[in-house]
């Protein structure tokens, strides 16, 4: 999903550069053109630009959310390890019980991974030409 988005964005930007920036650089030639073909072309370029900007916006939002989730994950992983360490140090539990408690605890943390997967699946679903 992620690589596809970057590739799509890169293609869109290339298209805009080829079709729009190049013609702008030849301003005089551009200015003289007032026919309907030109208007149609300009409209199409603006549409592409809009799509590209939307895509950039979504990628930034996606990155920010990923970063937030990663921070949450860091806290959770850190506290999981500290709890595991405390459980390992307990003398009233045998190895099997220790393993069970740590494993059950780690399994409870899956909600965040599920949240992340759900986010990845839904946030970038859109119609891009």
């Amino acid at each position: 999903m992620w690589e596809r988005d970057i590739l799509e964005l890169s293609n869109l930007l290339q298209y805009i550069i080829d079709q729009y920036i190049y013609e702008i650089s030849q301003y005089n030639q551009w200015k003289q053109r007032t026919d309907s073909i030109y208007e149609e072309k300009l409209h199409k370029i603006l549409e592409k630009l809009l799509t590209a900007l939307n895509l950039v916006s979504q990628i930034i939002t996606f990155e920010l959310t990923l970063q937030k989730l990663s921070l949450v994950d860091r806290q959770i992983y850190g506290s999981l390890f500290h709890t595991a360490k405390e459980i390992l140090a307990r003398t009233d539990l045998d190895k099997i019980r220790k393993g069970q408690i740590i494993l059950d605890l780690a399994a409870q943390l899956d909600f965040n991974s599920e949240q992340l997967e759900e986010f990845e699946q839904t946030s970038l679903e859109r119609q891009v030409e």
Partner: protein, 133 residues
């Protein structure tokens, strides 16, 4: 706690120590060292029956019973049931739990990883094992 004449028997029930209970026996003699403390393994049926009795006791108290005692009995019953279920899983996945603890010990002793990374590795391994109860 049960007393008979001057003898007494104390039974310590801790769900976490299932299926073991601590028993203290004191004889009625004058000797202070005439005292026995031991651990006894009780069968699952006994614990199950105890949990059901506690639950029934809480229900039987009705509207005039103390809310604190009622919820305490219920909680104790639930803890026992949870421990019975946990013990069943321990019996079923004994080797997995044991090797998982060894794995956590190994990760804990590594000096090239920070706490977050250690936690992540432990989490990932637990996720891989994902035991079906």
């Amino acid at each position: 706690m049960m007393e008979l004449d001057s003898s007494s028997m104390k039974l310590k029930i801790k769900p976490i120590s299932y299926p073991v209970m601590e028993i203290s026996l004191k004889n009625g003699s004058e000797h202070e060292d005439d005292f026995l403390e031991t651990e006894v393994t009780f069968p699952m049926e006994f614990w199950l029956s105890l949990a059901l009795t506690l639950k029934g006791g809480a229900k039987g108290m009705g509207a005039f019973g103390s809310q604190g005692v009622m919820s305490g009995l219920k909680r104790m019953s639930q803890r026992i049931m949870a421990e019975i279920e946990a013990e069943n899983r321990r019996l079923k996945f004994k080797e997995t739990y044991e090797s998982f603890t060894n794995f956590v010990v190994q990760i804990n002793s590594r000096t090239d990883l920070d706490d977050v990374r250690k936690g992540q590795i432990i989490h990932d391994m637990a996720h891989k094992l994902k035991l079906e109860a």
